[in-house]
Structure formats: C-alpha cells, structure tokens
Amino acid sequence: MTDPADFTLVEAAAALRAGQQTSVALTEAVLTRASLTEAAVHAYLTIDRSGALAAAEAADRRISSGRAVGPLDGLPIALKDNMMTRGLETTASSKILAGYIPPYDGTVVARLREAGAVFVGKTNLDEFAMGSSTENSAFGPTRNPWNLDTVPGGSSGGSAAAVAAGSALAGLGSDTGGSIRQPAALCGLVGMKPTYGLVSRYGLIAFASSLDQIGPLTHTVEDAAILYEAIAGHDPLDATSFPGPAPSGTVRLGAGVSGLRVGIVNELSGQGIDDEVMAAFRTTVERLAAAGAEIVELSLPSTATALSAYYLIAPAECSANLARFDGVRYGLRIDGGTVDEMMSRTRADGFGPEVIRRILLGTYALSAGYYDAFYGQAQRVRTLIIQEFAAAYEQVDVLVSPTAPAPAFELGAKTQDPLSMYMQDICTIPSNLSGHPAMSVPVGLSTTGLPIGFQVMAPALGETVMFQVAAAIEELSDDIGRPVLEVVAS
C-alpha cells in the first residue's frame, strides 16, 4: 500500500472523502517523512508541526461533519519561505530576515487557509529567490531527493525537494525567471507559472515585481491545475492583478492534443542543451505528433537576448525592492555610529554575495547616464519578445521546449561561475519577460537516473490549453516514479 506521504492531492482528497484517511494522518505521514528525510534533504527552514496538526484537526472536523471547503481541505502543503505567513517565521532564506515573524498573511496564503490547506512549513530557497540551485540560502543548501549529491534546482528548490521527498503532498513556489519550472524539472515534478497577474503577489517578498508569479509544484498535472485554481483570481490588494476571472486549469484535462498546433522554438531547443535532454524532448514531440498534434517549427530570434534583458530588468527591480531591508524597522540590525552607517553595515552583513551582486548590477543599470543603454534597452528587448511571442501564438496553440538545459548538477558545480548558473534559466526566462504562462512536466529519466523536464508555454490567459497539453504529455510519457531515499527505505 502507498505511504500516504506519496499521495497526489487528488488521491489524498479522495481518501479523505472516503473516510480512509484523516487530515491528521496525512499530516503525520508527511511530518514523519520529513523527520526521516530532512537531515539529508533540508527542504524546510521551518516545520510548523503544531500549527499543521491544529489545521489538520480542524479540517477533519469539517470533513467528518460534511462541511469540507473544497478539494484542498485537509491536505498538507509546503510554502516557499518568501510568502508571508502570519505568526510563522518568514526569511526568504536571508540572514537579514532571520527570526522575522510577519504580522499578516499574503493573499495566496490566506486563500489556501480558507480552502482548508494544512501548511507543513516554510521551504528553503535561494536568498530572495535569486538563484537556480537553492545553494544561495543563508541557512544551507537543499539537496535533490533523486540524488543527494545534486541540487534540486532553484530558487524554489525547497518546495520541489519537499514534494519529491514526500514531506508535503504539494508545494508553492515563485517563478521570476524559471524558479518553479527549473526545480520541477530537476526534481521530477510538475511546476507551473501562471500568466502574470493571475495570482496575487500581495505578501510575496518581491524579487522582481514585473516578473514574479506564485505557482504550484506537484506530482501531477491535475494536482497543479487544482492548486492553481485555488490561488488564482483577482485581488484588490495587488494593483497588477488581472481583473477578470482566471481561466480554468482543469476543464480540458484529458481532452488530448488532437488538432492542436504545437510550436517548437528553435532558439530554445538546440544550442546549449544536453543531449539526453534533447533526446527526451524529441521523443515527447514525436509522441505528441502521434497523438494528433500538428508540430510547427518556429523561430523567435529575440529569445537569444532574453537572458541579457532579464539580468538587467530583474536586478534593477530588485535593487529597489530590497532597499527596505535597512535595519530600521525590522530584521537584522548591525549598529553603527550613524543611521547611514547602521544601514550600510546591516545590508553588507545581512545579504549574501549573489544578492549583493544583483543589487549592484541593478543599481548600476539604473544609474544616470546608463539607464537608457541598460534598463531602457532591456525594456525594448522585452517589448520585442512580447511581440514575437504574440505573433507566434497566432500560428500555434502552445510552444514547447526543454525546461532546463540539463538534469540536476552536483552541489558546488556552478557556485563559482554565476554565468553558467544563469544559463539554467535560458529556456524559462522568455515566458517571464512576456508575462505568459508556462509549465514543466517530467518526461523521463537520464541514464544517471535524474529527471528530465519538458516545457509547455501558452499565450496570456492560455492556462486551459496549456494544462490540456501538459496532461496529454504526462499521459504519453513513461512514469518516472518517485526517488528512492535510503533513509526512507530502511
């Protein structure tokens, strides 16, 4: 019999409804799993055992009295530690926020609470979501449950590792340049970034405001669709929130791909991509074609400059977003002779090297005399990318590419080489710049037994068709199973 910690959300909800499981039992199962795996994996920064069990008990009371509030009621979920949780420490993996207890819940957190979700705890990330390996955490790296010598990807590596390891049934990440999709690919999960504006950013510690979106990390496409639907929708507290209804994620699941036009982006499906990843990509495309999809090859030349544009826009925005961490009102404070000195010392000591690198990069890019050449030029590239993608979606229903250029790499392999780390996001960044939805689906394992992801991209508000195609890919692909962790097996 399957350990409840390895249930999908759909399986767990069914078991709760059928009275075969309780929320408390599910929660105990993931907490037990965490107690076995955490020493090795370190997916969590904070595990809220008592809060989770209290929420589970409340859910059980609702369910047993027939008042369950929806498909997530009673299900244990992990939250990336850049989402504000009232009364529960939230750090963004930064020393500057160590010990910080938020006085409010972010909108997504509040919605999930309303939906009855049980929060297991807060997961590790690259500091302020800046990184692709979860090694840039002030509180130590997270390891990939598929191979503890490798990284889980990042920046939502903690949530991805937690779900992969079974220490949560699903998780939430945030995606600024690929921070949900790349760890999903590396950890053998489904990871989805919604259309910009569909999910409220209120209560998400901002990295790059015009790019950040919260989204699900799950075992299956259906789970992702359910979790997405629970968090999406207009929020008056986020002025960039889309005012209309969010497209359905679940309505076209199982509808297949027959007659759909699937575009391969040449620029994202060749150079710089590992052979095994490319092979898995081609196999999947062939399967889609066999299932009735029309395959179209497309060129989106501006994507070649996306990475450069991203590394100007995101740092520029972060240089302002992170200015508030100054030691004055909350968080770390290193005293100094003057207020200015205190702020300087606090920030120099409180931020890690990658965060400082990006703040400096962004500050420089916005400086008088450089603005137009850097930030201005990057915005023009962004406009071009949006236009090219819009034109492409005139021809096809979805675009596809590999998610990450290679399977998980070893810890430390790229920490001394920021540029090669930045290349991890080469396929994922364009959708952040365009604001379009995109997701990663696992399509196989490498010869070394590491998961490989496949990316489906869709036009703005194209979630329904994106989930439809992703579900078909899931159906057409071999099940990669779950990672085998010795600590659990023994």
Binding site: P102, L204, S209, E317, A320, R324, F325, D326, L366, Y375
Partner: protein
C-alpha cells in the same frame, strides 16, 4: 552689476483624503505616533501599493484649477534614496509623465499682473517624520531619532512652477495665490505652520538683460509667506554679493533660518542627484479619461479669476477686484464685510488701500489683525450716517487694526465722532459769523471763495469734528 532674480517655486501639498495614497490607513496627524500604519505604509516585506482614486481625482482638480493639461495616461516611478523615515527607501512618485502639466496662473503684485507658468503637478507619497532627540534638538547633535510613520504614504501633490518669477514679492504672491486656490478646492487644509503645504524656492540671478540662467540654489524651510519672501530676498542679495565680489554661486540646497534671517548651506546629501528613477512595476499607468476629467472639472469651485469678475459685477473697480480675489486674506475679509452689509466699493477701497498698507507696514497678515468684516460694515455705516468723516474713518480703521476695539468705541475714545447735530453746528456757524462780520459781508456780497474760510473756522471751533457738508449748507442758509 545690476542683477535680475530668476525664481521657481516647488510646492508640496498634502491631500486631506480619508485614506493614504496606497493603503487604507487614515490620514490623521493628530493620532498617537505609529497608529495609522499597516504593512503597506510601513514597507513590510511583500506589501504592495494600491492607488487612491480620490487622490487622483483631487490632483486632477488642482491641475485643472491651474489651467494644466491632464495626461490621459500617466506613470508612477520609483525615486530611490535611502532615508530612515522613508519606509521602502524609495518614494513612489512620478517622473516623465505627471498627471498634470503645462498650466499657468496670473499673479498680481502692486497692480502689475504676470503669468507664471506651471510646469507640472505630480502625485507622490509623503515620508514619515523623524524626531531628533538630543541636547539641542538639532539634527547634528541628536543622539537618538524617533520615527513616526503616520504621515508615511499620505498623498502629496508636488506643483512645480517654471522659473518665471522675478521678485521675492512675486514669489510670495504666487505662493499665496496657489494656497488660496488649493484651499478653495477643498483638497487640503493647506496650513503652512503644520506643513500640510510646503514651499521651496529655486533662486538664481543673472545680469539684467541677459538670457542664460545663473546657478540655482534651492532654499527650504520657509514656514510662512513672509519667511518665503524674506528668504528669497536674502538669497538674491547673498548671490549678488557673491558674484559682485568675483565669486561663484554653488549649486546647493540652503536652509532658511527664520531667527537669524539668513540661509545656511545644508549638508549635501551624498549622491543626491541620482534617484535612479524607473517605472513603478507594482502599479499600472494612471488613466484619467476625458469623461472622468470632465466630471471632475464640473466640480471645481469658484476660482480667483472668476471671483474677480463677480466683484466687478458688484460695482468694484477692476484693479481692486483683482487684488481682492487674488489674495486669500483680502478675499476672506471682503467676503465677510459684504456678508455683514458693507457696500462693496467702500469695503474694497479700504481693504486694498489702508488695510493693505497697514498689513505691509506692520508685516502682518490681515487675518492676524483684529479687523473683522463686522468692523468694516460698522465703519461704513458710520460714514454713511455722517457720524464719521471719511478721513476720520481711515484713522479709526488704523486703530481697529491695531486691536483697540470696534469702530464705535475707537471713534469715541479718540473723539472722532462727527458733529452732525444741526443745533450744535448752527450755533458754531453763528459764532464764527459773529466773529468775522466783515468777511461774512463779502461772502454774502458774492465773494464765494470765502465759503472755505468759514468752513475752516467752523472746523477749528469744533475741533475738526463738524461734518463739512452740513456746515456748508448752514452757512449758505445764513447768506440766503
């Protein structure tokens, strides 16, 4: 050398909306420190701004009142600088596309009207307040700084004039007129002393007859119109002095010291010139559609130019009407005089004449004098009833302004009540005729210019209190 001042004024107006610019916290400066705060205005992690629609409406009102064009789509920007009372270490402001741009107002000084162009009015948020605690209470010797974030995020409109102002008096008039308009719009309590309206002046000088601007100095910390005028005057003279002695003016910010009557160079903020503006990604562009703009325009109250036209309609001469409508203290006094029943032109003459002269001489706003509209009306009634001569009325006005009491008491105390009682006047006339029989015979014989002599003599014997017109009538009746 002869120098010409070139002055621009930047005005910050705090809007008195119910809630702050980007969150639901109350705008209330009386509240206990740090009670009107929330994650947004405290700059907590994860908090996001949502713009206040009323504030956008009100800045549009301001723009329309200053004859500005209203941008259909304007943009918020982040202005980046570190300061401990600024929660996010950036201020949400506007940069290249403000809500209002390219307006003007006409300003009148000593009867001369000039058009001052308004470059822009943009929307931004206020900072918190720093209270420096230390031995002297001054920033340099402070040992501790307390922060109050009740003001953080209060909607602030910055109105920037072109450098069209040419004198300190004009700078003052512009500021006063601007305040009058803002107060008339009902969007701010616009109190200088409480900082809800704040004026900074950019002052430079250039040789008369030349075009290029000199180096500009920003002067801050003026908390009354008088100190604005004094500070600008001081700064003009200071710069002229520096240049006359062969020096150069530094581009800097200077702080007006009201007590010493001088400006001091402020410690320059490091890197203050580079605010690294970029479009605020948390906010969409502000849209003011033509339809909305028209709705807002329909709610504008009477503005000074319209008011002046109305005063002309009441029979006030054009110059006085412009002066009255263009100066808030005069306007307020005039309106209350009318309400108390004073004839328009009489009240206008006194207010633009004696009262204005007194205000200048005493350097006191007439709103700070003891004069009321009731006084003006009472005084006018006394003249009308011939119990005061118009000369005596002006004297009474001076005493009332000085706070000596109401016109009737003052006139009595200074023995200025005119004798218009005919019995008393007749006996005075007869006495004078009796003393000057020869002259009276000549007057009666047709030497009419002697009437002035007799009136003068009657005034002498009555101590100047006789009504000259009544006296003239009585003398003529004695001839006939």
């Amino acid at each position: 050398m002869k120098w010409e001042p070139v002055i621009g004024i930047e005005v910050h107006v705090e809007l008195e909306t119910q809630s702050k610019m980007f969150c639901g916290c109350a705008v209330d400066f009386e509240a206990e420190p740090n009670t009107n705060v929330c994650p947004v205005c405290l700059g907590l992690p994860g908090a996001l701004p949502v713009p206040n629609r009323t504030a956008i409406e009100w800045i549009t009102k301001i723009g329309l009142a200053f004859n500005c064009s209203i941008s259909e789509r304007s943009q918020f920007h982040r202005k980046n600088y570190f300061y401990s009372d600024q929660p996010k270490n950036y201020q949400i402001s506007q940069f290249d596309v403000p809500v209002c741009h390219d307006g003007w107002i006409d300003v009148t000084v000593d009867g001369e009207t000039s058009r001052i162009r308004v470059n822009r009015a943009h929307m931004e948020e206020d900072t918190g307040k720093s209270i420096h605690v230390g031995e002297s209470g001054r920033i340099h010797s402070a040992t501790e700084t307390l922060l109050n974030f009740n003001r953080a995020g209060v909607p602030l409109v910055e109105i920037v004039s072109e450098a069209d102002i040419r004198s300190a008096a004009q700078a003052r008039a512009y500021a006063q007129d601007l305040r009058t308009v803002v107060a008339a719009l009902g969007v701010s309590d616009a109190k200088l002393e409480e900082g809800s309206i704040r004026f900074d002046a950019n002052v430079s000088i250039r040789p008369v007859g030349t075009e290029p601007f000199g180096t500009k100095v920003e002067v801050k910390n003026m908390n009354s119109f008088r100190s604005l005028e004094r500070a600008v005057d001081y700064e003009i003279l200071r710069q002229a002095d520096v240049l006359d002695q062969g020096g150069t003016v530094d581009q800097e910010t200077r702080h007006w010291d009201e007590g010493e009557g001088v400006t001091h160079s402020m410690r320059s903020k490091e890197g203050s010139s580079d605010y690294r503006y970029f479009p605020e990604p948390d906010l969409l562009p502000i849209e003011v559609t033509e339809e909305w703009r028209n709705e807002i325009a329909a709610t504008l109250p009477e503005l000074p130019s319209a008011r002046a036209a109305r005063y002309v309609g009441l029979g006030v001469d054009a110059d006085s009407a412009t002066s009255l409508a263009g100066s808030e203290p005069l306007m307020v006094m005039f309106e209350s005089s009318l309400a108390a029943g004073a004839p328009a032109q009489v009240a206008a003459n006194w207010l633009t004449g004696e009262v204005t002269a007194w205000s200048r001489r005493e350097s006191t706003d007439i709103t700070d004098s003891a004069l009321t509209g009731q006084h003006v009306a009472q005084l006018a009634a006394m003249v009308e009833a011939n119990s005061l001569s118009s000369t005596a009325a002006k004297e009474v006005l001076g005493h009332v302004l000085a706070g000596e009491g109401d016109p009737a008491d003052v006139a009595a105390a200074h023995d200025l009540i005119q004798i218009s009682d005919s019995g008393a006047l007749e006996s005075a006339v007869d006495q004078v005729i009796g003393e000057n029989e020869d002259q009276f015979a000549r007057l009666a014989g047709g030497e009419d210019k002697l009437i002035g002599f007799f009136v003068g003599q009657v005034m002498r014997v009555t101590g100047g209190k006789a009504d000259p017109r009544a006296v003239t009538d009585i003398i003529r009746s004695r001839i006939g």
